[in-house]
């Protein structure tokens, strides 16, 4: 399998604190790659570095061989990096318009943008709610707006930041297949999740971060039996990692 | 040559007052996270208080600090409680409107009560100077500088060594964590606004012996204070002090060699240049520059 994204020695310091330190990994085209780790491990910071909202101190981020690290976020988006945010804050406009916002980069007229936006809303099953304001929707639905918005940028790689967090079990069951469906439509997925069961169920590989560093990488089974991962989560002194 | 040294010294001394006013703003902005567009009006009100105390009771401006400072402290507390606290959770724009409105009200109340005339305090030492190595130094400016230096030092030790001071700094660092640690945030907001206001007021009192007061005198002070905070860095006392002196010198030099009428043009120029070349603040450690939006 070829690599869509290759991250090498990526480092970001806040003051004296290393939020992400020398992280290297690759994302294979067409896979669902999970990213887990305790709170403050640097997962969201890593997403911010890849999507360009934060500038990295060192290291390279290559998408299909092209360097991203010095590019502004909107260029990275155009190159194929899409993302959602942990805290959902839909724009203060209708669901349809929310999805139209990024589409304007590809289609210049409102009419074309509207048609395209409808297609995407159908995919995430929000087409019936297109004219509603996001504030009237449930959290699960608002999370799907986030996904729809990100899909509207036509991403090659989609970074999903806790799209399942805060949902009740039936909502999780409803949103989970969506992730697989998005992947099957040809989008590679890197996603952060705290719900371990859901994560293990759909990811092919899992990355584990702790205190800014990447401490494990492998299939869900490999990772859950890894001694370093267990200590990172349980907070015990590891013999040697 | 002698002229330029003379100009720089006089600018440096004035810069002390700017630093004082700016540190008041820095504290309010850092703790309460509000852009107080009425900050210059605090200076204006203090200047008028000083003037009236002198006019009616013949009180010396320096002596009047014992009345003006507590009054202005309470005034600051009152503003925080009545104007700012009700809109604490509103958007940043709403906070701007409220403080712009406050500035409009204070300026025009001053116009109604005191008329538009320029008022000055007549003191025997107003024009007196001392000569030092061929440089003439104005006595009230010298007093102002050292008073500013002393009170800033005092604030520094208060923030560094007392429990309340540490709590204030904790809020500047991180509002949420401070809350979680059980710091009574609302009371500290009141305190910070009060202290910030008193510091600006001290700046106003110290200005009175050598300058005049009129209703719109405060506008440039708001501007200066913000530029100084941006240059000096949020939460950085040392940075704010140095930036205050810097602006004082630039104003004096620009006013002498370019045109006194273009003072504000010079500030704005510095502001723009600072944003472009060194967004994290010239002296600051970069903290707080993200608050300003400079990343």
């Amino acid at each position: 399998m070829d690599d869509l994204l290759v991250v090498k020695d990526l480092t970001k310091n806040f003051g004296g604190l290393a939020a992400v330190s020398e992280v290297s990994f690759e994302v294979r085209r067409g896979e669902i790659l999970g990213l887990i780790g305790p709170n403050g491990a640097g997962k969201t910071t890593l997403f911010n570095l890849i999507s360009g909202l934060l500038a990295s101190d060192r290291g390279t981020i290559k998408l299909e061989g092209e360097e991203l690290a010095k590019k502004p976020p909107y260029k990275r988006s155009a190159m194929g990096v899409g993302r959602t945010f942990q805290v959902v804050r839909p724009f203060d406009m209708t669901v349809l318009e929310n999805v139209m916002v990024p589409i304007f980069a590809h289609y210049k007229t409102s009419k074309e943008a509207k048609e395209k936006a409808f297609e995407i809303l159908e995919m995430v099953r929000l087409d019936k709610l297109a004219d509603k304001m996001p504030s009237n929707l449930t959290l699960a639905q608002r999370k799907r707006i986030e996904v729809a918005r990100a899909l509207a940028t036509k991403p090659k790689l989609l970074l999903l930041d806790e799209v399942l967090a805060g949902l009740n079990p039936s909502e999780v069951a409803e949103n989970l297949p969506l992730i697989r469906q998005v992947r099957d439509s040809g989008v590679t997925i890197l996603f952060i999740e705290h719900l371990m069961d859901a994560m293990m169920a759909i990811s092919e590989r899992v990355l584990v971060m702790d205190q800014g560093a990447l401490i494990a990488c492998g299939t869900p089974d490999e990772v859950t039996s890894d001694q370093c991962v267990i200590t990172a989560y349980l907070g015990e002194e590891a013999p040697e990692c | 040559m002698e002229l330029i040294v003379q100009v720089c010294v006089s600018g440096l001394l004035l810069g002390g007052i700017y630093a004082l006013i700016s540190i008041g703003l820095n504290l309010i902005f850092g703790v309460v996270r509000i852009i107080n567009f009425a900050h210059g009006e605090m200076v204006m009100v203090a200047m008028y208080l000083t003037f009236w105390l002198n006019y009616f009771f013949g009180m010396d401006p320096y002596v009047s600090t014992i009345i003006v400072l507590p009054v202005m402290f309470l005034f600051g507390v009152l503003i925080q409680r009545v104007i700012v606290q009700p809109i604490q959770n509103s958007s940043a724009n709403m906070k701007i409107f409220a403080t712009v409105a406050l500035s409009l009200i204070l300026q025009n109340v001053a116009l109604i009560v005191c008329k538009g005339n320029f008022r000055t305090v007549q003191v025997p030492y107003g024009m007196s100077t001392i000569e030092l190595a061929g440089i003439f130094i104005s006595v009230p400016r010298l007093v102002a500088f050292f008073a500013a230096l002393a009170s800033i030092t005092l604030l520094y030790y208060f923030l560094k060594n007392t429990y309340t001071g540490k709590a204030l700094r904790a809020i500047v660092e991180d509002d949420t964590i401070a809350r979680l640690m059980g710091v009574k945030v609302q009371n500290l907001y009141l305190l910070a606004f009060g202290i910030g206001c008193a510091f600006s007021a001290l700046g106003g009192v110290l200005l009175m012996p050598f300058s005049s007061v009129y209703p719109s005198v405060g506008i440039p002070f708001t501007l200066i204070a913000f530029i100084v905070v941006v240059l000096g860095g949020l939460g950085s006392m040392g940075g704010t002090f140095l930036a205050g002196l810097f602006i004082g010198v630039v104003e004096a030099v620009g006013g002498t060699y370019v045109s006194p009428a273009l003072k504000e043009a010079i500030y704005f120029g510095i502001f723009i240049i600072a944003i472009l070349i060194r967004p994290q603040g010239i002296f600051g450690k970069g903290k707080g520059s993200e608050e300003v939006g400079l990343k």
């Binding site: 899409g82 304007f104 940028t153 | 852009i35 009200i105 025009n108 723009i272 472009l276 967004p279």
Partner: protein
């Protein structure tokens, strides 16, 4: 049905406005209408950066730049006011380019501060640069009536000019708001980071918004000067009248919406003139104290402006319509 009714209502309103000068020959009433139109245009132009959440308190800068450019060209070089309109718009946009540095780099409140400073600086320059601007004495437009000189003996032509201007700026701002630029600005206002991550060059969007806004404000400045005959730094770059007033209209009407600025200008302009004449003569400055108190009240009780109060009413009507359609 509903759109038909709306079109008919608009047509009646337009016709009504068109014949106002025929029936009301009083200079005062004509002046008041003209002023309202000017303020609608100004507020709608001010409102464009506000789509993106950027709130300027320095639009007098663009107003003054436009006005001074045209006035200087006309009075000192004898250049036609019609060319002056283009020149004034262009110079105002150059001012916009300068203000775009803080616009793009600074967060909202700090941009607001920079905008105040910018307008104040230009006022000082206008006072200081006597050879060009006549300093605080100002520039007088000589009274030579005729369409060529954009100077008239009656108030009627300017009534129509200002009305056309107001309609044009409303339509433009409506068009901008529903174009890609408008969506990008509104997205940036709601969540700048999310907008960036969705591929929007937010800096460019804010810049373009300010270009439209500054250019239009400059053009309004040009026309206002020829309406008013006199231009001096205190009026052309007036903080109260051309920076604060449009902002106030926008806030009270509803910032970032299409109709907010219109409603704000319609209510605030006559009220402002009334307060200036009655309270202002009783006691100079009293009108501004009232203004300040009103602003604080709006911030506390109706933060979305008057438009937000009318919204439930609109919504009800709309949902009523759609349910009727369902049946």
């Amino acid at each position: 049905m509903r759109t038909n009714k709306l079109i008919i209502a608009t047509a009646i309103l337009m016709l009504g406005l068109l014949v106002v000068p025929v029936f009301f020959t009083s200079t005062f009433i004509l002046h008041m209408f003209t002023l309202v139109f000017f303020y609608i245009a100004l507020t709608a132009a001010w409102n464009i950066p506000a789509f993106g959440g950027k709130f300027s308190l320095g639009h007098a800068a663009f107003f003054g730049l436009g006005g001074y450019t045209a006035a200087i060209l006309y009075v000192k070089c004898g250049i036609s006011p019609y060319i002056g309109m283009f020149a004034g718009t262009f110079v105002a946009m150059l001012g916009g380019v300068i203000l775009s540095f803080p616009l793009v780099r600074l967060k909202g409140p700090f941009f607001t501060l920079a905008s105040i400073a910018f307008a104040e600086v230009l006022r000082m320059v206008a006072v200081d640069w006597r050879s060009l601007t006549n300093g605080s004495v100002g520039i007088n437009i000589p009274f030579k009536p005729g369409w060529l000189n954009l100077t008239f003996t009656s108030g009627m032509p300017f009534y129509y000019i200002a009305m056309g201007l107001a309609i044009a700026v409303i339509l433009l701002s409506w068009w901008i708001r529903s174009s890609s630029l408008g969506y990008h600005l509104r997205a940036a206002a709601a969540d700048e980071d999310a907008a960036k991550a969705l591929g929007i060059n937010t800096a460019k969007s804010h810049f373009l918004g300010l270009m439209w806004s500054s250019g239009l404000t400059g053009l309004i400045g040009v026309l206002y000067v020829f309406y008013n005959y006199v231009l001096e730094p205190g009026s052309g770059f007036s903080m109260d009248r051309f920076s604060l007033q449009p902002a106030m209209n926008g806030i009270i009407g509803g910032m970032g919406t299409i109709w907010g600025p219109v409603i704000g200008a319609i209510i605030m302009t006559p009220l402002g003139e009334f307060l200036r004449f009655y309270l202002g003569t009783i006691q100079q400055g009293l009108n501004f104290v009232v203004y300040g108190l009103m602003l604080i009240a709006v911030v506390n009780f109706v933060p979305g402006g008057i438009v937000s109060l009318m919204e439930p009413w609109f919504k009800k009507k709309k949902s009523g319509d759609s349910s009727a359609a369902d049946n």
